[in-house]
Point group: C2
Chain length 244, copies 2
């Protein structure tokens, strides 16, 4: 009986080979749309069509329509009574609503994470902080895409440590919903001068390193609030101008 020998050989092969993975087209479309949404590539109130997206992504309508359906249930997109879908418009109420929910849930997540993050995890987010500084030092021109990506990595690296399989998808949904708004704010930030995001992030890191859950929660709330309050005042002044 060569069974043991064959088994061993198979194991040796398995060690060499990487699992190939079988991502469906639908999954790729979904991920791509998510990325675009969180990155703020779509504008609020913009209407999306199935065939249009299918053409842009070079697939058929089938994977796109299912991906859109999923994004609608996450409230990342909005189904109009006409049955067309658009990215939800920004309103003052929605802004406040989103901010409150984010502080509540992401605050809870970071408080949980504070007790669970080891030196390994702390080191990881410090690396991300380093990359941020590097980016700022090297380039004068603003690389908004990279800023968005690094910011996302920083936050989710923390949230992943909270150990809750329930909270994380909710946070993703919240980012999906606030993505289109936030982009507007980041652009405005970059123009309005160097309000240092890194400073806020550093405060979060020191809170986490000392396992101070309350401080982590508060500094996170401050970090999240910035773009929201900024956008809020901007919207208010725009509304005031409309009235005149």
């Amino acid at each position: 009986m060569q069974k043991a020998a064959i088994e061993k050989n198979n194991e040796a092969i398995a060690a060499q080979l990487a699992p190939v993975g079988r991502e469906t087209v639908q999954d790729r479309v979904y991920s791509e749309l998510r990325r675009a949404l969180i990155g703020g590539l779509f504008e609020p109130s913009q209407v999306l069509t199935i065939r249009g997206l299918a053409d842009a992504l070079v697939t058929s309508t089938m994977p796109v329509r299912e991906a859109l359906g999923r994004l609608i249930t996450e409230k990342a997109l909005e189904a109009l009574p006409n049955r067309s879908v658009r990215v939800p418009p920004i309103t003052l109420e929605r802004l406040d609503d989103l901010l409150r929910a984010r502080i509540l849930i992401e605050g809870e997540a970071i408080a949980l994470a504070a007790a669970r993050m080891g030196p390994r995890q702390i080191a990881t987010i410090e690396t991300i902080l380093g990359e941020w500084d590097e980016m700022r030092a090297l380039k004068h021109k603003k690389d908004v895409d990279r800023e968005v990506t690094l910011n996302q990595s920083f936050h989710f690296e923390i949230y992943r440590s909270c150990g809750s399989a329930v909270l994380i998808p909710m946070i993703e949904s919240l980012w999906l919903q606030s993505g289109p708004c936030i982009r507007v704010a980041i652009y405005a930030f970059s123009e309005a001068g160097e309000v240092d995001t890194a400073q806020y992030h550093r405060r979060i890191v020191t809170a986490l390193a000392t396992q101070d859950a309350q401080a982590a929660r508060e500094s996170l709330a401050a970090d999240i609030s910035r773009p929201f309050t900024f956008l809020r005042s901007k919207l208010q002044s725009a509304a005031a101008k409309d009235q005149t």
Copy 2:
């Protein structure tokens, strides 16, 4: 120019007619599956097939597959690597995770609602309480379906008053996720004797009537926790029995 006259006539007609609505088949399938899930009609770990559900619901596979996709993104269902979908199994960690999230989010919702509910809304939930008592008085046999429905109405009538378009879908998602677990607990409750749910609900109502947000939050937490802690101890003893 009869324009104004015609307009007025149309308005008169519109006042008579109820909007007919154009619910798609997909929406109906989705609602039906939601109802089944929240009501706990599916068992944890049960595998669902597209064609099977399509036959049961008497439609084609198309609306079903899209509805399943949506439920998967809400974590109400789970996609296995085999690409089959099942209702998520119950584990101790998941139970604790769900309970914590529900107390956090539904607690926030009821705290907001406490400040916003008027006599009109209070009367509505008291009506639901009345129906509960009625049900209990008339029938000795347990009508679990009706219990589930009334419990749901009671809670969501409150949550609707919180005024947050962001929190409510999250709560719905949480109910979807805990539905299959809760059903097990309710059955066990009904057998284990008359632990009066109404008593917990009444405490919530008095807290809301006096606009006491903190008391509302706490009594809600107590109400939600019951089936969870019950199920938890049941699972633990089952696990202990397995080990022997």
